[in-house]
């Protein structure tokens, strides 16, 4: 029975590069997709995994060559654009990442789902509603009429799956379908993908997150620099990885990794000078001093209560993980703590000193003790500044001194965050995502703060890069005793990074406790749901 749905041998895809060079995005990749089975393709950005997946739909826009490219019995090496269109949607479908833009915000959902179907407009709409029903969309008839901005993230992701499934494809490619989703949404999508397998569909699942792939895939391919470095059945690959890179990816998964245990193992391209580095075990001496104390913070925008009566504290030198799904009010809380948003009620104090609400001039002296890091570091840099200007600006308290002293300090900061000094003259736009986040950390550290507020600092990064940044943060905490307020939606990250965890939903703080308590013995129903939805990361426990 198990005739392969897709067979690929020695697939290569090249793109035109600058100066008439060719860039080889994919080199000699071979793979097979089988009905009822899922193949996971894992790798960091630029590894060629998406290009490989898209070549199954003839959508690479590059130059594709392959010894074999057999899709459902059709030799796809020489298909015309028209023939490809026959395949797309009907035989091979794709589920994209919900970056809000995978559904046209200007068109009703039902048209986005069913516009490729034959039949009258009414029939197509009916089909769309049915497809939405089958992916368990609440109120499918109503939602079909709406446009994507009116839907929640979960609804959009369901709509995307419905969109892929409506043509009854035999092969489905899920390209980063779970990236940047909240925990429960990720669970939902993974469950839906697993169901597709049960329906006899051949599934290709692409992600940078090995932990997620492992939930669904029967076999896994690990890609790097356009090539397959290792492949095999999931169980085998996880328990007995052969290639160093696979091992590195495995280690980078923070789930269940002990506090301060390193996630990154070897030098990555992200940090050129970073050497194999082992952190010491936790040797911090925690005191009773509270770095941050938050009392009864509330904030209302219009008639929407963003934060209601939130209180918590961060002991000096420790990390409080603030976890919650998007819209839970965690970012607003962070902004109030940083004095960027004036709370309606409540107060914030830092090391016992009142910090917010207050006049900016009254608390400027306290600012030195507080640093902040954002999800998108680029937006927080002045676009006209180079790396060195950014650092000197931060070091000099906003003056524009060109003193050698600052230059030297800037180099020290770069060294601290393991960035090469050659980056000093670069613009942040020329840096990679990991380098940018390191630069943001370096800047935050410039005034030698005692507290860092980190708002989703690694959410936009690949798991492997995330690992290096998390390790860096660990090291800094051990070396400097800085207190962290670590905000994230990722349970695995928060578990690894936090001494204590606070859980927020709908503007309320529902539960606070030690990391152990929250992860293993959640008491609040919401927390329980959240933990239940987290990927069951088997291999770690086996390790």
């Amino acid at each position: 029975m198990n005739t392969p749905a897709v067979e690929i041998e020695n697939l290569s895809v090249t793109f035109p590069g600058p100066n008439k060079t060719r860039i080889e995005a994919v080199k000699n990749v071979s793979l097979t997709l089988t009905p009822g089975k899922a193949l996971g393709i894992v790798g960091e950005s630029g590894s060629g995994k998406s290009v490989t997946a898209r070549s199954l739909l003839g959508l690479t826009s590059g130059n594709v060559t392959a010894d074999t490219l057999n899709i459902l019995g059709t030799d796809a090496t020489r298909l015309t654009e028209k023939q490809w269109r026959e395949i797309r949607g009907n035989k091979v479908a794709m589920i994209l990442q919900d970056a809000l833009n995978s559904l046209d915000p200007l068109r009703p959902i039902h048209r986005e789902i069913a516009d490729a179907l034959p039949g009258s407009r009414k029939q197509r709409k009916q089909a769309a509603v049915e497809a939405l029903y089958s992916v368990e969309m609440p109120e499918p008839a109503l939602r079909a009429e709406q446009r994507s901005p009116q839907l929640s993230g979960g609804m959009r992701q369901r709509a995307l799956i419905a969109q892929a499934m409506i043509g009854s494809p035999s092969v489905v490619v899920a390209d980063e379908a779970t990236t940047a989703l909240d925990t429960r949404l990720t669970r939902m999508v993974l469950d839906q993908l697993a169901q597709l397998k049960d329906q006899g569909i051949a599934l290709a699942m692409i992600s940078h997150d090995l932990a997620q792939i492992a939930q669904v895939a029967d076999d896994i391919i690990v890609m790097r620099h356009g090539e397959i470095v290792e492949s095999g059945p999931t169980e085998q690959l996880l328990s007995n990885p052969q290639h160093d890179y696979t091992k590195q990816l495995l280690a980078a998964i923070p789930s269940g990794v002990a506090r301060f245990a390193p996630l990154s193992q070897v030098a990555t391209t992200e940090a050129g000078t970073f050497e194999n580095f082992r952190h010491p075990a936790d040797m911090r001496k925690l005191t009773d001093t509270l770095a941050i104390a938050v009392h009864g913070l509330s904030k209302t925008f219009g008639d929407h209560a963003a934060v209601s009566d939130v209180s918590f504290s961060v002991p000096q030198g420790s990390t409080l993980g603030l976890v919650g799904e998007s819209g839970s009010g965690k970012t607003t809380t962070a902004r109030m703590i940083l004095g960027l948003e004036r709370p309606d009620t409540g107060s914030v104090s830092i090391f016992g000193q009142h910090f917010a609400p207050a006049k900016e001039s009254d608390r400027r002296d306290l600012r030195d003790q507080l640093g902040a890091i954002y999800q998108d570091p680029l937006a927080s840099f002045d676009p006209r500044y180079t790396t060195s200007q950014i650092l000197i600006n931060a070091l000099s308290g906003g003056t524009t001194s060109r003193s050698r002293h600052y230059h030297k300090r800037a180099l020290e900061l770069l060294d601290l965050v393991e960035l090469d000094s050659s980056l000093l003259s670069r613009s942040p736009r020329e840096l990679s995502g990991g380098q940018r986040q390191r630069l943001a950390i370096a800047r935050a550290l410039a005034p030698k703060p005692d507290i860092l507020v980190l708002d989703e600092p690694v959410s936009a990064l690949d798991v492997s890069v995330q690992a290096t940044v998390l390790d860096l943060l660990d090291r800094l905490q051990l070396e400097t005793g800085t207190s962290y307020l670590f905000i994230t939606h990722d349970l695995a990250v928060v578990e690894h990074m936090s001494d204590q965890i606070a859980v927020m939903t709908h503007g309320n703080l529902v539960e606070t406790g030690t990391a152990q308590q929250i992860i293993h013995e959640p008491s609040h129903p919401y927390t329980q749901q959240l933990i239940a939805a987290a990927p069951d990361w088997g291999p770690r426990s086996r390790r």
């Binding site: 739909l57 959508l59 654009e81 269109r85 026959e86 395949i87 797309r88 949607g89 009907n90 479908a93 794709m94 994209l96 990442q97 970056a99 809000l100 833009n101 995978s102 559904l103 046209d104 915000p105 200007l106 068109r107 048209r111 986005e112 516009d115 490729a116 446009r147 901005p149 009116q150 995307l160 969109q163 892929a164 043509g167």
Partner: protein
């Protein structure tokens, strides 16, 4: 119900806006040096007697205190009375009613043409290579930089004088409006195309376009289902501005192509200090602007209901 209250709010805002415009114009006109009575009698060149001037002052309430004049003026406006043209001695509303259709026709046709040209330029440029894109930019920018009066002259030379294809004046036929409409449309299309192309390129490379391709849509379908809407949105936003600009342009175009219309009336009215006429046309163009903005909002609400309601994107 929601539509009704929305409409009521908008109409209320428009009324306030019109009132401000009317007041600004009233103040502006009273500050213009010169005796309005003389303007009524045909300017200092006319041989109006002192009695005639006095009679004119009486007739137009120019003897009253400013505040009284202002009240009278507003009172007239509210009843829809725009006053009597000094120069033509006829009701301004009647003159405008005669001139309006021609200008409206010209403006609407050129808006449509501008949209079409802009969309074509954007579509071609968006789908071509780097050199094509650069060429597209230059063409758009040059189109946007061509003054109406020069373009009109060039079009007459080329299409009327040399080729003899199209008439250079309004003939009441379809052909007669082509050159004036093009004159008005081409610079506008340059502006629109710049906007449209940016949005078009973004839309065509967006994830939803990829999603559409992945479910079997052809490039043409992607273009019309997605690209078009996204390109239309920013251009639509500019429509209010475009209409206002077109009315400005109509002054020149109607002059060059000898078309009757509000623009030419306006120029004549300004030159002869025919203030009721100036006021009427200014108020009216403000009204048109607001009506257009209302329509644009309504269309936007159809294309993009979420944004219209202010939902978070």
């Amino acid at each position: 119900m929601r539509v009704v209250s929305w409409l009521a709010r908008r109409v209320g805002a428009a009324a306030i806006l019109l009132w401000i415009v009317a007041t600004v114009i009233f103040i502006a006109i009273r500050m213009i040096p010169g005796d309005p009575a003389e303007a009524i009698m045909g300017g200092p060149g006319s041989q109006a007697s002192a009695e005639a001037l006095e009679a004119a002052r009486e007739q137009y309430h120019l003897n009253e205190p400013l505040l009284v004049q202002y009240a009278l003026y507003l009172g007239q406006l509210i009843t829809g009375d725009l006053g009597t043209s000094y120069a033509q001695q006829r009701p301004v509303a009647q003159i405008m009613a005669e001139m309006l259709p021609a200008t409206l026709q010209l403006t609407l046709i050129s808006l449509v043409i501008a949209w079409l040209i802009a969309f074509l330029m954007a579509a071609v440029a968006a789908r071509s290579n780097r050199i094509g894109q650069a060429m597209g930019t230059v063409i758009e920018v040059v189109a946007a930089a061509v003054p109406h009066f020069w373009l009109g002259a060039m079009l007459i030379i080329i299409f009327s004088t040399w080729l003899g294809w199209l008439p250079s004046v309004d003939t009441g036929t379809v052909q007669g409006i082509i050159l004036p409409a093009l004159t008005l449309a081409i610079p506008l299309s340059g502006f629109l195309a710049q906007l449209m192309r940016d949005s078009l390129v973004t839309a065509m490379s967006s994830p939803f376009a990829l999603a559409a391709r992945a479910r079997g849509a052809s490039e043409g379908q992607v273009f019309f289902r997605h690209g078009f809407r996204h390109a239309a949105l920013p251009a639509l936003n500019l429509t209010g501005w475009a209409v206002a600009t077109s009315i400005s342009g109509a002054v020149v175009v109607e002059e060059v192509f000898a078309r009757p219309g509000l623009g030419r009336s306006l120029l004549g009215a300004v030159l002869s200090r025919d203030m009721p006429m100036v006021t009427g046309i200014a108020l009216f163009s403000a009204l048109i602007y607001m009506v257009v903005m209302l329509i644009v909002e309504a269309i936007e609400a159809i294309i993009n209901p979420a944004a219209a309601r202010g939902d978070d994107a």
